[in-house]
């Protein structure tokens, strides 16, 4: 068995009285693509945000490349710890709302953290950014501001921005949910290509077709727990659990 790239063990997360995650275990192998499905409020986005410590879990352990990144409950609250640096330099995230920096050009969005965090020279950062933006099909938009781009284009910039930091793992948090239907494909195409190149990916999504085609493993969550997980063919086409069947029925009906 290959060492897991990301391993989540018994993750619990509470927001006040509300327990959003009630003990979640997931293993993601190197180069694997794991898709997390589930109704809204099932805790899937929170789980993803736990992996890069945007929401430090209260209980449980997260291993990234074998390193425990939360030493005991509440350790993430310091926010300036070794764990944070370790995680943020290995894990990239793309958000539902893009969160591009509106006061920076497309190119600056992709070079800023390279220069400030990785101490790359201007030329290095620029070369890397240009290459990545070309890869996501935006080499003509380098000097535009994000507000001038479509949602799909903005999301592709966000993917390039995350990739510029040379992450070992990429997290995708419902990255196509805020897009007009005709813009979804261009973003999924970029993600599909990334998966083919062997990037380790943890993807929260409602795109069943994408999960079926690209995922090595599909995880179905509901009510803060994993209901079932397995190969896409098993979970998506022959779900064992009633809750999974019901959810898939509702989603596929559309």
């Amino acid at each position: 068995m290959v060492e897991a790239m990301v391993s989540l063990q018994g993750i619990h997360k509470r927001f006040g009285e509300l327990e959003v995650l009630k003990g979640v275990d997931i293993d993601v192998g190197r180069g694997e693509v794991v898709c997390i499905l589930g109704p809204s409020g099932s805790g899937k986005s929170t789980l993803l945000r736990c992996v890069n410590l945007l929401e430090p879990p209260e209980e449980g352990e997260i291993f990234i490349e074998g390193h425990d990144i939360c030493k005991g409950p509440g350790s993430g609250s310091g926010q300036e710890s070794w764990e944070l640096d370790f995680v943020r330099r290995r894990v990239g995230i793309v958000f539902q709302q893009f969160n591009l920096f509106p006061h920076k050009t497309v190119l600056q969005n992709v070079t800023l953290a390279q220069e400030r965090v990785l101490d790359r020279s201007k030329q290095e950062a620029r070369a890397k950014a240009t290459e990545l933006l070309e890869r996501v099909g935006l080499s003509e938009k380098l000097s535009e501001y994000p507000a001038r781009l479509s949602g799909g284009q903005q999301q592709r910039v966000a993917i390039a921005r995350a990739l510029a930091m040379d992450p070992h793992v990429m997290l995708f948090d419902e990255v196509t949910s805020a897009l007009d239907p005709e813009l979804v494909k261009e973003v999924l195409d970029v993600m599909r290509e990334l998966a083919q190149e062997g990037m380790t990916m943890l993807v929260v999504t409602h795109e069943i077709g994408f999960a079926r085609e690209v995922a090595d493993k599909v995880v179905f969550m509901d009510g803060g727990v994993i209901v079932e997980q397995g190969k896409p063919a098993d979970v998506l086409d022959n779900p064992r659990e009633e809750r999974t069947q019901k959810f898939l029925g509702l989603v596929l009906e559309r």
Binding site: N52, L54, S77, G78, Q79, E80, D85, R88, R89, G92, I93, F95, Q97, N99, L100, F101, P102, H103, L112, A113, R116, V117, L118, Y145, P146, A147, A158, R161, A162, M165
Partner: protein, 247 residues
């Protein structure tokens, strides 16, 4: 009725003392300019201290909030009187500092500047805070997720966006500050109100005071229109739903 006009609108008297009052008014503008630079800086420092994350900065946040609350609550006049009536007698402070005569300005000038800075730092901190809090939380999250520190994220991402949201309320603070520069007259600094009152005492005529008022109106009225324009511009942005753009 002519007595009334004579008391307030004696144009001959105004003309006679115009340059005297005008020069004193320049002192108000000088106080304003110095304090504006200091308070805008001090306010930003306070706002950033207030936004420090995590448990270990609880004491810093507490002290900052206490400072801001205190100096917004206490009348500026009292601060001016406390500083000018106290600092000079604190003998453990070197004389050049407790009785400053820097850049050829007398000590009351500097006591006034200090008092206004302390108070206006607190007010501008609240304006900065409103701007910082109006920047969507996703911006900080995105910056932090890319490995930037809290300070880097503040400096490169949050504050540059925050300051584009607040010119209108900040200009309001600056208008107040310009007017409050007249309070330094109570500690015998020769600015426009003090000079006008001396003229009033000497001639029993209020026209110089009215002239001083006109100087302030002439400077501030256009600024008030600028505030309106800025507000309208921001409103337009919100209703159009577009992102802010800065070069």
């Amino acid at each position: 009725m002519s007595e009334f006009f004579h008391q307030y609108f004696d144009f001959h008297y105004m003309g006679e003392h115009f340059w005297e009052v005008f020069e004193a008014f320049l002192q108000n503008l000088l106080i304003f300019a110095v304090v504006a630079v200091l308070a805008l800086t001090w306010g930003l420092v306070l706002a950033l201290l207030r936004q420090l994350p995590g448990k270990k900065f609880v004491p810093v946040r507490f002290v900052t909030i206490a400072y801001i609350d205190l100096f917004r609550a206490i009348p500026i006049l009292i601060v001016i009187l406390l500083i000018s009536g106290g600092i000079p007698f604190l003998e453990f402070i070197p004389k050049d500092i407790r009785i400053p005569h820097w850049f050829g300005k007398p000590d009351p000038f500097w006591y006034g500047v200090a008092a206004l800075m302390l108070v206006y730092g607190a007010f501008t901190a609240e304006v900065y805070r409103a701007g910082i809090e109006a920047v969507p939380g996703g911006q900080m999250e995105a910056a932090r997720s890319l490995g930037m520190s809290h300070w880097q994220a503040m400096r490169h991402i949050v504050v540059p966006q925050a300051v584009t949201l607040i010119p209108a309320p900040m200009l309001n603070e600056m208008i107040s500050l310009l007017k409050d520069s007249t309070l330094v007259s109570v500690i015998a600094f020769s600015e426009s109100v003090l000079i006008s009152r001396e003229l009033l005492a000497e001639s029993f005529n209020s026209s110089a005071l009215l002239l001083t008022g006109v100087f302030f109106i002439v400077i501030i009225l256009p600024l008030a229109r600028v505030v309106d324009k800025l507000i309208a511009r921001n409103q337009g942005k919100i209703t159009r739903g577009s992102h802010i753009e800065v070069a």
